[in-house]
Amino acid sequence: MCGIVGLHLRNPELHPRLGELLTDMLCEMQDRGADSAGVAVYGDPTWTPPGQGAVSLLELDLPAAEVEAAIGTALGVPVAVRAVDATLVVTVPVPSEELLAAARAAYPDALVAGFGADLAVLKGVGAPRDLAASWGLAGAQGWQGVGHTRMATESAVDPSGCHPYAVGPDQCLVHNGSFSNHATIRRELRAAGVEFDSENDTEVGARFVAKALADGKDVEVALKELCATFDGFYTLLVSNRDSFAVVRDAIACKPAVIAETDDWVAMASEYRALAGLPGVENARIWEPEPEVVYAWTR
């Protein structure tokens, strides 16, 4: 099953409420997947000070101070590390790709949950409501957030199987459904030099999109190519720091609802995740058509 949610705030007056709204959306979708959860938050000034590069690391059981010292020495700049439950969010005043290279060199066994400017990616195994509380998600701010509640089907229940897959700079992908030809596409991408962190089907979709974007294609073209290449069931939400896009497979049996007002754009697997958003009673609400890419840009 799985549940996905996303909220893109157009009205800056709502930015302080991003975490509160995203928490309610995510927790409402716990019924659709309760073995793991994850979120990507764009623009929280505490987790990711504005304008700094950020990397979110998992499976790194070390004190924050030790990681600050190691990466700081490598980069020659002051590094801040915040432990948000099991995720270490590392920020520095250098581009995130540079920070990512230093983090990978220092900790080759760490799992990179995501990287980008102003982007924190938190994920873990456990019930979504418990995880949201342990992250303090309700207090987060920002202009955009996405979330996922997982009911595993294609790979193990461990941190590497949790969504979001934030595998390209500033990017993030969450998936409700399953890909059936992911093993073939993973082999092809590996042959083209793409590295993987897991055996998860969604990671293949995320790496595919990240490669297309890195090759200079826009998100709409990337998602059209994904539709032509991937077999399976999917509703996907793909974000980067400036955009927010939704696509469903041709059969469209995995649910999706989009709602839009002047203040925000939101999507979720089910309407009930959107029912608490301010002004939802006057929102334009619709179900996305199969294989149509819906995209919004900031």
Binding site: I251, A252, P255, E270, R272, I285, W286, P290
Partner: protein, 232 residues
């Protein structure tokens, strides 16, 4: 009788306060009659399922999956959108959705009338077995897939694969059909079809439509039997 005058049997529920189980249990009470209103459904699943009483139920807001499923006798109005499988397996009564319906509206339903005033998504009327469905707007792909009996009226357009592997359901579409599914064909509108369609449109509140502007679709019946001397 003035529908606005409260009567002794009328009940009011608020799903922001009352549990769904409590509400559905009250709707299953023996000898239920009168009118029931349900506020703040907030996308909840299975609202007003399994009713079997001559009661009028008004749901004020959007509902989740399977709303009014398995309905018998009741007149259920949803003043909002409905999620997957609204009125699935309805046996009798009426279900009206004032907004749009998600996929599989009226799936497998045996009887009664389902009206979706807005659009219905994919697989509307899949495997319908005798229900009448009237959709005010468009329907999505694979609508009336394996539809066995009953009538489906679409005032707008139909998506890909309309009526694939259809049995004896009669389909009336006013707009464009993106493509017909296997064994579904256009058929002439004879006088009895115009009359039947006029009755369905009237029952659904669209009596101003001109029935002759619709096209009838149904089974070519070529899938009913194995072809003798089948050659592959």
């Amino acid at each position: 009788m003035d529908p606005l005058t409260p009567r002794p049997h009328d009940r009011h529920f608020d799903l922001a306060r009352d549990s769904l189980r409590e509400v559905n249990a009250a709707l299953h009470a023996p000898d239920l009659e009168g009118a029931v209103t349900i506020d703040n459904p907030a996308g909840a699943h299975s609202v007003a399922v399994g009713l079997d009483a001559p009661v009028r139920v008004s749901i004020n807001g959007h509902v989740g999956y399977y709303a009014a499923g398995m309905n018998q006798q009741a007149e259920v109005t949803i003043d909002g959108n409905a999620g997957t499988g609204v009125a699935e397996n309805m046996m009798s009564g009426t279900v009206v959705v004032r907004g749009n319906a998600s996929q599989s509206a009226g799936a497998t339903a045996h009887g009664g009338l389902l009206v979706v005033e807005g659009d219905a998504a994919a697989r509307c009327g899949i495997s319908m077995k005798g229900v009448d469905i009237v959709v005010g707007g468009d329907v999505g792909h694979s609508t009336a897939f394996m539809a066995q009996a009953g009538r489906l009226v679409v005032r707008g357009d139909a998506g890909e694969g309309l009526g694939d592997s259809i049995y004896e359901t009669r389909i009336y579409v006013r707009g464009e059909v993106a493509s017909l599914g296997a064994d579904c064909v256009a058929k002439p509108m004879r006088a009895e079809h115009v009359e039947e369609l006029a009755g369905l449109l009237k029952a659904a509140g669209f009596e101003d439509d001109d029935p002759s502007s619709y096209t009838r679709y149904g089974s070519a019946r070529t899938l009913y039997h194995f072809t003798a001397a089948n050659k592959y």
